[in-house]
Symmetry: D2
Subunit: 385 residues, 4 copies
């Protein structure tokens, strides 16, 4: 089947030109849930574009009868971030105009909701589907009030207009997948909200960050937090429900690259996830290994980031994916003193044991520049069979 | 008298070079409070450097016997932000490395304090000076725990190290003054915390923004909020105290400029403020007009910012300082359509009445770019005699 | 009359979006020369957009019978440069990708022509119109060879593709006008090629830079130099001809602004110029003051630019348009030493007498940053009656 | 032996801070030629810093009696370029202030010399050493005239002051080595001036670009061109001499990295080169393989650079070092159309056969962005035994 393609204007530039996003909608014959998949929200994180392109190619061979519900795809979802260049580099992690991180701008209903407990108690006699419908309507009603400010003569900053456009497409979806990658060079893993660990398996990735703390206003958080808050409230009122609402951020390898292995994992994982959810009926899926797949969950507060403790050049850094013991030398800083002394070598030891999960692309470091990340824990925890 | 000059290393760069700040300390013969004054935290906001320089020149004619307590001056306090250039412009409002606004990075004790009420009740029998001393010691103790992370091999992002250095100098001060200006072109005014309105008069500025809401982690907020929280707690416990702790942000006109009128107002206001506080004894100060001076307080949530509702060029904008009525045309957007049409003129009306308090320097606007700010209110409120 | 509007694709961005320029063609009833007018080649230099817009408005009241030949208008001619932001600023003077100045990229036939003398002698028996036609054909033939490289699978850097698009529109024009302004804050003036001084008067501006030296590959130079070379060769061969080919760069005041006075001068000057050339027949034009208008020509090598001799803040700068004598203090640098010393004031004297013609917008200066420009000469030369 | 360390101030920043370079001088017991080696002129090209550091470590084990002449080392030679960050990236290829490529700013005596032929004929009876001395004195005399402008109150742009400082250190050297790398990801090779092919062997690299054309004002060119011009003039006058003056640019792999293999080749090559020139007497050097080493010379105009012919994402690119035949698919562009169509895959064939010598780090491409470089030629030419 061919997708329905919709073109959404995003911004008019000073030159009068306009930038767009396109939504590719695969609408199944059978009614059902909505899945929303986007990529390249951060300018350098392009791997998901290849993932979405390959899904589109694959699904052109699929019949509408094989899809239940609808799947919306939004590749290259952030034109301003994507087209940004600093010399040769894609520096669009934050908006160059105001420094706003493109993935910390989203509208989170939980932050303005004052009455979730009250809503929960009002739904006590309804079934989960009814509650979900009622809650979603409330969220959407509050969300669409934003339009007033956007349409006023006083306008809004671009990020507020842009988030409205993306969330208009995604806020009513059951399953949201946001394809990212490292800004630098990273392993493949995903972010998982507490209580959705079982669903995470379907992506068939080895590692998942468990959201023990929030960055604030990230795309996945803004979609998921209001539902987790409602579930918590219902549970406290003796009515434990888990809604069919899930939000995922996939981290597919290295920035400014579309590494074929990472892309293949993304394609496989998303197809398998949708098959598991009953939205996609294709031969062989869900893959038989899904049930046995074991995900290594790392609590978010167990990731330690290393920053340069002096200015200099990085050498002898342990490679991505290395298991390290506390005290192992992670890397050296070659620091060229400017006070008449010889250059100095500074050894940087691991503060705790763990797995090197992300490393910087740039081996030149001002003091305080990011160097690498470690998933901390006993090293045998990270052994993959 | 000459100040004591102290040099504080701020960062080692990749090239091995180091950047510094200098603290100029005027220490009076008589013990007393500490005042801390800094400038140029945002790269483009340079007017305060001239203010501090003129204060230094004036106080070299002053005798140590005329100063009670000590006054610390830190001009050009953010070398990384100041030296940053984007072509000819000082674009250092945020750190180019991570997009962090240089004035949203500071450590706020209130955010980690869990026991302010408990502390307040424990001090019930002490006098205000004793309470202040005890509280300051607690704040400083928590603050200096940050050093552990900074000194670890894993290091910290530059902004965390930098804030530690600036707050080490200022966190024990009674009076903190942070000299800013518009990033664009603005009136002269100051930010005032609730309950400090009376002290604000001494700066002899016409307008003050009343902090009805917080930006979060700003330099003035980080210094002041813990004390406001304690005062509130004490008051709730029937022990209303206002501590001799105040924190101010002065906005001295236009960015990338040191406008002589704005600088003169800054110099006059700071001298008058310190004289009012009894720290500076110079002839004629406090100025006689202080008592009668009336400050126009604008609640922070009454500032409305205008953003371009289309891409284009700005023309016929009303000038800075104009009083506008609702519906007045504030400016026009000349928008060059790229769909085969003629250019279009879009009139932008004022959404509410008020005073144009800030205007953008750049008349070319992508959709969502900032255009101007209005202090909203009836126009007669803003008439200055 | 309404212009014919043509839309020209300029670039496809990584996100798949495309940017365009639009050409607005006013085609007269009577055949005749071609005029080409563009604006905003440098991102911050927007004044010409208002000029072109006002010309379009005016000419919609004009009948095709009043125009001889055709006038092509290309406002906002450089979308990549125009939409570029560094924080709030329009930093698109050079392409952020490769540092290429947008006005130093153009194809100059003179640089590859090896046989201008030979061509000149081959035309000895032809009249000026025939020679012009033959020469233009040669230029265009060479120019369009560039298309081969552009269309090859190996592609070309964006600047080479972009220059091809702009020069395709302008290379066959008789009169080319490129509307710039200062990057900073400047007077209104124009650039004039040697031998075209008489034509320069029609723009009714007070100052003109006489091109005694070339920047290399500027838009005006690329259009004009081949013709000057042919004229020189013909003259050397005893056949002095001045072709009806002229190329002008107008400097209309301050960057990031559309100052109404500068815009009005641009509109008046261009209409008067076109009327003088017989292309535009509107009441009152050519303006009677044209004949008596005296332009103050400043040889290009008599402009002296001042750069900061130390790092610091600029104060007490003489204003734009000031006449200075050698030795006058132009400005002071307030330099905050970081070696434990007090700040220092450095007076900067004028090296020669002259007129302050351009000043920087940013009063914060790293050593070597641009401060101001002086048209050097005896000050009475610059007195305007 | 320990080097003598000299600290040279480079610039005072707006904040008052100063940046420096350090020169490490290994001065031999025996008088002789001067070698000058620098690294990191372009901000991202850091590999040479490790090379120079390792040379310093090695030579601390060497006795002054083993060195003839003096060897000056200048690592991290461009603090402004090195410390520059655009988000995480080292974008200091050009000066962010004015877009000037840091390696296209140098003073080239040949460009201002008007009398090289006359000088050549005046030296007809002198021996090569005398001629070299006389010529060098002339070059230095002209060079040091630049100081006048630098010291004037009007100052000079930073790049002109900076080049003066670097060339003051290097202009009297016999052997100049400038350690670069790819901005992106490249092979190891060097640039070789015509007539110095024999000397190039000592670096033991597989490829060398033969300078059949000049970039203009590069560091190596500025040092070498005046001497090549004199040699040519002398030869024309029947007095063929090759002076002991050589200038090299080493390209050591990938940008923002200090790849150990590239660094090792740099260390080995430089030691072997200096040993071959008789400046360094260490066991085993010159390496025995030097004589038999065969360098593959590629004329500069045989390098073809590929640029994106559409906007999109790069996939299936052939790896660095691949030999390709004309017509081979080098890479694909995945282009996300924004006109309501499906994404498109564009195959990019090799225009000519050759070796992939450099590839871009960023797989996201605006139209006209750089993709890769090919040393063009029959593929068997590039086979390495």
């Amino acid at each position: 089947m061919l997708p329905i393609i919709e073109r959404v204007p995003i911004v008019q530039l000073a030159s009068g030109d306009r930038l767009f996003i396109q939504v590719y909608k695969f609408i199944g014959d059978n009614p059902g849930p909505k899945a929303y998949i986007q990529s390249n929200l951060h300018g350098a994180e392009i791997a998901g574009n290849a993932v979405i392109h390959q899904l589109m190619e694959l699904w052109q061979q699929v019949d509408a009868s094989q899809i239940t519900g609808e799947i919306w795809l939004v590749p290259v979802c952030n034109p301003l971030g994507i087209n940004r260049r600093s010399q040769h580099f894609s520096s669009g992690r934050y908006h160059s105009y105001d420094g706003k991180d493109w993935n910390r701008i989203f509208w989170d209903y939980e932050k303005e909701a004052t009455d979730i407990n009250q809503f929960a108690s009002s739904q006590i006699n309804l079934n989960p589907d009814e509650i979900a419908t009622n809650y979603r309507n409330i969220i959407l009603k509050h969300f669409h009030k934003l339009q007033e400010e956007i349409n006023a003569a006083s306008g809004v900053p671009f990020v507020e207009q842009y988030r409205y456009q993306l969330q208009s497409l995604s806020l009513d979806a059951n399953y949201v997948i946001d394809c990212h990658s490292s800004t630098n060079q990273g392993l493949d893993y995903l972010y998982c909200f507490s209580s959705r660990e079982e669903s995470a398996k379907a992506f068939l990735l080895d590692y998942a960050i468990l959201m023990t703390e929030y960055d604030g206003d990230a795309f996945d958080e803004a979609g998921m937090k209001p539902w987790l808050a409602l579930e918590k409230s219902l549970a406290q009122q003796g009515n434990p429900i888990q809604f069919e609402v899930e939000s995922w951020t996939l981290e597919l390898g290295t920035g400014m690259q579309m590494n074929p292995q990472s892309v293949a994992k993304g394609v496989r994982g998303i197809q398998n996830y949708l098959a598991t959810k009953g939205m996609l009926e294709i031969p062989g899926f869900p893959l038989p290994e899904t049930d046995l797949h074991s995900v290594n969950f790392i609590p978010k507060d167990r990731i330690r980031k290393y920053y340069a403790t002096a200015g200099g050049m990085i050498q002898n850094r342990l490679p991505l994916g290395t298991l390290v013991k506390k005290g192992d030398c992670l890397y050296q800083l070659l620091s060229f003193d400017k006070t008449g002394e010889l250059p100095q070598i500074i050894d940087i030891p691991a503060v705790e044991s763990g797995l090197i999960a992300d490393i910087c692309t740039n081996y030149s470091a001002n003091q305080g520049d990011y160097i690498l990340s470690i998933f901390q824990g006993e090293t045998d925890k990270f052994m993959i069979n």
